[in-house]
Chain length 346, copies 4
């Protein structure tokens, strides 16, 4: 039984980790960290867990946690994981960091976009970017995994095969993404009130959202060139779900079959990536509650562009589900253990 | 492996049966019945099932189905199950009927409230009302189970212990219930369009809803007297969830502890009934996607009434989940098999 | 031109006052009070007012306000208006208080339910309860009007004619009310976050909500007896709207026509009360954005109860609209000036 | 008093025409056309109009209508207006066609994208494209106005000044648009059911939506060159509102001030176009129920692109409001009469 500690277990991503791990046959949570609710019963914070989780919330004692846990998930704000990690801890436990601290290889890029100093740059190189479908073998050997962001997971996987195969002009790539409100976290902020979000739609972080460099870096590795994109996130009046609509100019004339073959090349055996049938477009509801990424595309001969679309549940494949998928890989388990979550509809 | 046939597998309750049974280790679906989508791939009707269910929809051939299946779920409009069932079928297979056909013991009451003639009244007496927490032993021996309605499951379980123990005046019972829109089914009807339901709230079926006699009959058995109630359903702009708020006059002065003890007497060992802690009120979101009923109450000394509240997911405990719970009992399996569904939040 | 000052102009009710008064031909707002946003442009707080309102938010200077304004609306938390009002102010200006401070005639009841000391009990008797349809003549002469609460407006008007005519047993009255989330205000609180409210339904304040004594007092005046009721509010995932479902036992056998005649007796000439046609049930969406109360009822001969239903927009007839209606009466204007708001659908 | 006839008055756009015209001081509706509800009271179809509109729905008798009405609004499916219009009618009345029949000047483009034969191509040249802010003078003289589509109104006005001034490379223009569900009409179709739309987000009509050529044609006029774009509409779980996010490469280096000056040049005196202040991004809720278009932009020096955003209420500026604005111009009235609708928030 793998002993799991969670730092930040009462945020939405933390809550989803608990939901998923509750159904994982080889893992048990031994530490429900939550600085805001220390000593409060976890089920009083998340009433859905009543009679399922009996534990109390605990403080963020990383040293103690490292002794007790085989793996620590840090579902915390940027900077926390980097400020806590050290050799002692990493020699005693594995870490899956759901924050951005170890996602970006160029520390100056991280510091510029996040506006904070990186406290443990020495671990950046070692950290594996935990997009399982792309870095599976590295994840298996990692002791520190940087779990990708929600927007980035969706945006990267949707474009990855085409970037990798070089059939799109990367300088033309535009990602227009739409997210449910759980992506904004559980903080009590006015813009996230029901009446402000419901019956409303807006863009935010235009040309400045922090997931931009993460997408650029990963698609840069895939395409073998420096990638600079426009990424525009939008807030949608729904709880869960990210839909990414991506535009790029095709380098040469390709058919539907050509592109489908490229997607199949990379994703045919990927359990959690579903390339949909022709003309079936991804909808966030079809993946809700599950670890799936649904992907499809449309070629527009009029403009010589391809429109790629991807949908995920931001809390599952975009956060907690992918974190568990990484954990499974790191411990040599079946990659899908605990993640056989059938999407819930409606 | 129990072979399961579903008639009406493409309605919302049918879809939920498929979702739940997909995770059931002792059952497999062998027949996806759907008169509207014969020969269409099931996953094209419910895209969430892409790469999970490979089967095609089939017609409603009850005889053939009885040969192939160990149990048939009929998730169909009123009247269909009663028109199809016969000795041949019942001797070959078990039936869990999600329609109202066999819920009401008095056929004249059924015919009056539903406005149709009952085609198989001879099976009404045999049929067991499948509210597992109340009729568990009968269900185990049944070959025909009448799966309770969504509103009724919630309404009955919320009041049952107090009716049974005789501490409330049954003639004063009022049930004010609120339901998400999936309860209205997947039919393409104007009142169920997004723009008609969203940002809207209304009562309907006031003093005439068909779940009324079902609640009355069952609470009549519990209290040992004829029960006549007001039941008012309301449509709420959400997909899933029923909240029942019930009012009754207390026969005598009781304390919080007295009433809590009564609830505990009946539900302490019931896995799927959660009597919440003092002052924690049920919310539909805390049971979403799960088979739980969350219940609590408040005594009002000013009016000498007790206000009871119950919450369920109408598609799970209110339909498919309870149907699977019944199946588990009928086949001697662990009652919770396939139903260890952790509520999803948010 | 009536000069209007608003204290609390940046709450949801305050914002609605601004929206309505912007279209009022005999009134102009001269003071946008908002302690939280002093010196900020009003249109930066409510971007819908961009290019419509050019003013900045001002502090809550009641004395200065009294000099500048002919009428002050206090859309503030309980206690504030009572702490500010005095003879100087009341001799210089009229006040429409949207808080609860002057709604309840028995100061001990107020202090018990609200848990605060009343700072100006000497004005309670003078204050007129501003339910225009009931106290029209008194409002016309008032200098201090207590604008009714949102739940209470809906609950009282729905039952008033039957209470007044004595055809229902007041001791059996139960009000089960459902409200959109704007009723909870614009404070940044966790329970009002989008993800906590959306896809969720719950009761709250059961047997303890502060609008209870207000309903009891007013229906007590109507029926000529002491009234004690159960009032249960519920939170609904929508922005606006209150639906009240009310239950009472009929004192004697009455027909639909009898009851309809009673409603018509009181409301036939009331512009803002619409008693719907037989079997048409109120829906909150049909009154959204307007000052209407939609009412209907159903007699249940089985239980000898009558079920009354009423729907309002909580921010209009339940707050700002009614406040303007009161202002119109106080200043001898057409009662409907500024309130010819056609409900918006969908 | 201008006598108005509406064909298609019971669709969502038709209903919005009625709502707006009810508050128009120089117009009265004399014909509530609705083939589906002939002889039914209009207020029974739209209960919000109870006691406001007393008329019954009438059939689509264009000849009779032309005699009785000074202007006819056709809020009908494609093809109907073109099939009914003739010289007799146009000599007796003016027409504002809310369908696409006369929007596109090249009849072969219309027939290709809409898949139907145009029945009155002889009127296409005469018809004025009723985007008031661009074609104001032509609209004033028109007897047949083609009211623009909802997506197109928003998409065109958002990019128009930059296209006109030639600062963006039109071949790079991409429009990613998001719409509330009322844009899908009031037809009882499964994909528009509450449970299918709520908690869901999807693209549709990718690279094939019929508003594409309309945007291309108009922006082609503005830029003086042939324009071919990608336009991707998305369905959002809200009733009203369109948000267009548009991307284009800048032809040369420009500053925020340069671009702001261009927008101001075209829109400074436009009552219904609000170019927001720096860094304030459009949100659909801020224009809900009003005739406003809220616009802003962001320059991204990293990619040398400009991201333009526009928000409208699809039923007002995107349909009925703009139709009334056109009517006002055609009859020499104040352009804003009936349209001083303050956006409703929340």
């Amino acid at each position: 039984m793998i002993k799991v500690g969670i730092i930040g277990s009462t945020g939405y991503a933390g809550g989803e980790l608990v939901r998923i791990l509750t159904g994982h046959k080889d893992a048990e949570i031994v530490w429900y960290g939550s600085r805001s609710y220390v000593d409060k019963k976890y089920a009083e914070v998340y009433q859905n867990m009543f009679q399922i989780v009996d534990a109390k919330c605990m403080d963020d004692n990383m040293d103690e946690l490292a002794r007790r846990a085989d793996v620590i998930f840090t579902a915390t704000p940027q900077g926390l994981c980097a400020s806590l990690v050290n050799e002692d801890i990493l020699s005693g436990t594995k870490i899956v960091d759901l924050s951005a601290d170890f996602r970006i290889k160029d520390v100056s890029v991280y510091e510029k976009w996040y506006g904070i100093e990186h406290k443990s740059p020495q671990y950046i190189e070692e950290a594996v970017y935990g997009l399982c479908e792309i870095n599976r073998e590295e994840v298996k050997k990692a002791r520190l995994v940087a779990n990708p962001g929600c927007y980035t997971t969706c945006s990267i996987l949707t474009a990855y095969p085409l970037a990798k195969e070089g059939i799109i002009d990367m300088s033309t790539l535009i990602v227009d993404a739409k997210s449910g409100t759980s992506g904004a976290g559980r903080g009590a902020k006015l813009p996230n009130l029901f009446c402000e979000v419901n019956e409303n739609m807006k863009a935010y972080g235009v040309a400045s959202h922090r997931h931009t460099p993460e997408i650029e870096e990963q698609l840069g590795y895939a395409s073998g060139e420096k990638v600079v994109i426009n990424f525009t996130p939008h807030l949608v009046p729904m709880n869960r779900g990210i839909l990414a609509t991506e535009y790029a100019t095709l380098k040469e004339k390709v058919s539907y079959g050509d592109v489908k073959a490229i997607y199949d090349k990379y994703y045919k055996d990927e359990k959690f990536v579903r390339v949909l049938e022709k003309d079936v477009l991804p909808e966030t509801k079809w993946v809700e509650g599950s670890n799936y990424v649904d992907i499809n595309f449309k070629i527009d001969p009029r403009t010589n562009r391809i429109i790629m679309m991807g949908a995920i549940d931001n809390l599952v494949k975009g956060a907690a589900g992918q974190a568990v998928q990484n954990m499974n890989l790191m411990f040599g388990l079946d990659e899908a253990e605990g993640l056989n979550l059938v999407p819930m509809f409606p």
